[in-house]
Amino acid sequence: MVNLNTVLLISSILFAIGIAGVLVRRNALVILMSIELMLNAANLNFIAFARHSGSVSGQAFALLVMGFAAAEVAVGLALVVALYRKRDTVQVDDINLLKG
């Protein structure tokens, strides 16, 4: 039986990796992948707490998040493709129209 704390620790590490990926990497595709990591870290938490508390509602939430993630990644990839067509790049450094 794996300890709850261990699972939470792994989830935190996953989330941190995701955050770091979002904040550090410049490629839009990698950022999208990092977001998936963060979402999956959250899913792991949902599962862990569901298992710990003996309720299934957490598992249902995890399924819901996976659906959301699928939709999100579809929209995100479409955006990246549109962006590439428009600007000929997927590097987010180059996308700085909001620069003051």
Binding site: V22, L23, I31, N96, L97, G100
Partner: protein, 772 residues
Amino acid sequence: MTAEMTLVHAATTAASQPGTLLWLIPFLPLFGFLLNGLSGRKLKSTKVVDFFALGSVGVAFLLTLYYFIQLAGLPAEGRSIHQSLWTWFDVGGARVLGGLTTYKIQWAYKFDVLSGCMALLVTGAGFLIHLFSTGYMAEERNDGRYYRFMAYLNLFVFSMLNLVLGANIMMMFLGWEGVGLCSYLLIGFYFEKEFAAVAGKKAFVTNRIGDFGFMIGFFLIFQIFGSLDYDTLMGSVRAVAHLPAITLYGHTASPTWWFNLIGCCLFVGAMGKSAQIPLYVWLPDAMAGPTPVSALIHAATMVTSGLYMITRMNFIYVNAPVALAVVLAFGSLTAFVAATMGLAQYDIKKVLAYSTVSQLGFMFMGMGAGAFSAGMFHVFTHAAFKASLFLGSGSVIAACHHEQDMRNMGGLKKLMPITAMSMILATFAISGIFPFSGFFSKDEILWKVFEGWYQHGHYTGPTLNLVAWILGMLGAACTAFYMTRLIAMTFYGEYRGAGHDPHGLSVPSEAHGHDDAHGDPHDDHGHDDHGHAAPSHAAAHGHAAPDSHGHGPTEVSWRMWLPVSILAGLAVVLGFLNYPESLHRILPIVPSELFSKWIEPLLYQVAPAHHGEHVPPAIEYGLMAWATLVWAPAAMLLAWWMYKVDPSWSRAKAFVARFPVLYRWVNAKYYVDEFYEAALIEPIKRFSAQLWSFDTWVVDGVVNGAARATLIWAGLMNWVDEYLVDGAVDLVEYFVQETSGVFRGLQTGRVQNYAFVMFLGFLVFAFWKFLV
């Protein structure tokens, strides 16, 4: 007549007969005017114009004749035919003496003893002169303005008939202004020539001065009487004259004082219209118009309207001794001065113009002496002989190819016998030779003036009468002289226009000789009123116009000599209509004083002032014989001797050489025009120039100054706006711009930076939530 004799005035409204067709007399010429004026331009043939113009005046003449005969059939006290057409305007509520009036001015005509005669004169002479014009204006038939001339003439006849037939002063004033307008239009008929346009303006402006006096006069009449109808005025004048005092405009004075004022004001109007000193200056210049106009308007009819008005207003004048004296003084002065001006003129129309002014002066003398019928009678005889002379001069001018200088004429008696005979008869008439008409009218006037001096068996009358009589006699001599001079220069000797000029008398017709030496700019006015007339026109209308250049003058067509001779015939016989009582013994078959008796119902009768005792008949006979047998013939013979007996005019030239200054002054008409120019016109022009500069500098200056002040203020405001308001805005903007650099650095535009900040914020929140 005796001293206690007072007649009730005969002419009252009740005695008037209705006349249903009376309105047609003035309106027929109006219709002629409208027809010709509106359609004349489009009419193919000028014969249609002739038909309308002559027809309307001719029928009006016949109608006048019909009413005149009807009038003669009425009893003397009721000789008045009246027709009221409509209410012209209502002056009810106006404040007059004794309260508010309810008077309505009627558009009404009154055909009585005076207006009937005048209407006969206007339509009769008018018709003859229309007929003359069809010949004289033949050259205009082709250039499209013939209809305009005829239409103006018709309009003039309408206005003049309104003037004489109107039943109240307002109607007279309407006609008065109308004839002034027509005079202006016809003097300036050749308006493309500057002198004609200037002469027209001069006539109009001078007349306006007179009209001003006339208007003041009848305004005062309206204020005092509350009415302008002749019948009402004549009916109430006796009552008004016996009022103790009249107060108007805060001034209280006796009725006589007011009547004197009215009389003088009205006389100012008569001065303008009838060309008396000092307003006569327009009449000689008016000769710039075509000659029929000079005959009709400026000799026979319009210029007599002042006389007509004074006769009509005799009830005022009889009660206004000072006004009468003023009339007498100005009349006699004009009669003399204008006659002397005629002595040294060479322009045939100018001679006749000054003669007209002088004769009008005689008429006013008669009025001034209280002899209204004598003055009025001279109006009619003068109309006959002066119209004849003017039309004759028109024939001469036309025959001599529009030459007006008498030095370039001469010998025309052989060439134009009918015109010459007519003019010679008219000359006898105007000179006052017995038994031509001028004798009966002019000498009657002079006699009445003399009689005024002789009072109560002693020569103690007003000295003015004596002076006026002497001036009149001198004027009569001048008249006889210059008329004989005119006849001798024009009709006797050799024709000098064709180059045959043994004595070197002719002058270049353009330079006009006598005026340029004195720098008189007015003298060449009216010299050639047909300057545009091309020889081809004359040739094309040879039947009416005289022959073309290159031939000598010949007799003019019947359309021209017929009116001249008819008028000359009238000038011969007309005098017998007022055959003096004192000559009854010589020609007992002639009824005496027909005209005076005819006009008598119109005249206001007072207790006669100086008719109490008559001058002994011996004096009357003596003066008559003296005037007609010695005085006038002597002047005529003198002129004959100077200009006919001696064809080189050396006697006249010797006289001029001996008295050059006198000649220069007379020839230049005493420099009156120059005096007016210098004393009145120049100052007025200078005054207007000053007003103009006031306008430019002060009035415009105020406007421009306001504009400039606004500009300066706007500049100031612009500065404030630019530097203060905009400065404040710019300062804020600058401040924001400068400080924004700090924050701008934060705004990298990179999504990851924002996400990082968001993450940090989340961390801070989380630490704060869970750890603190």
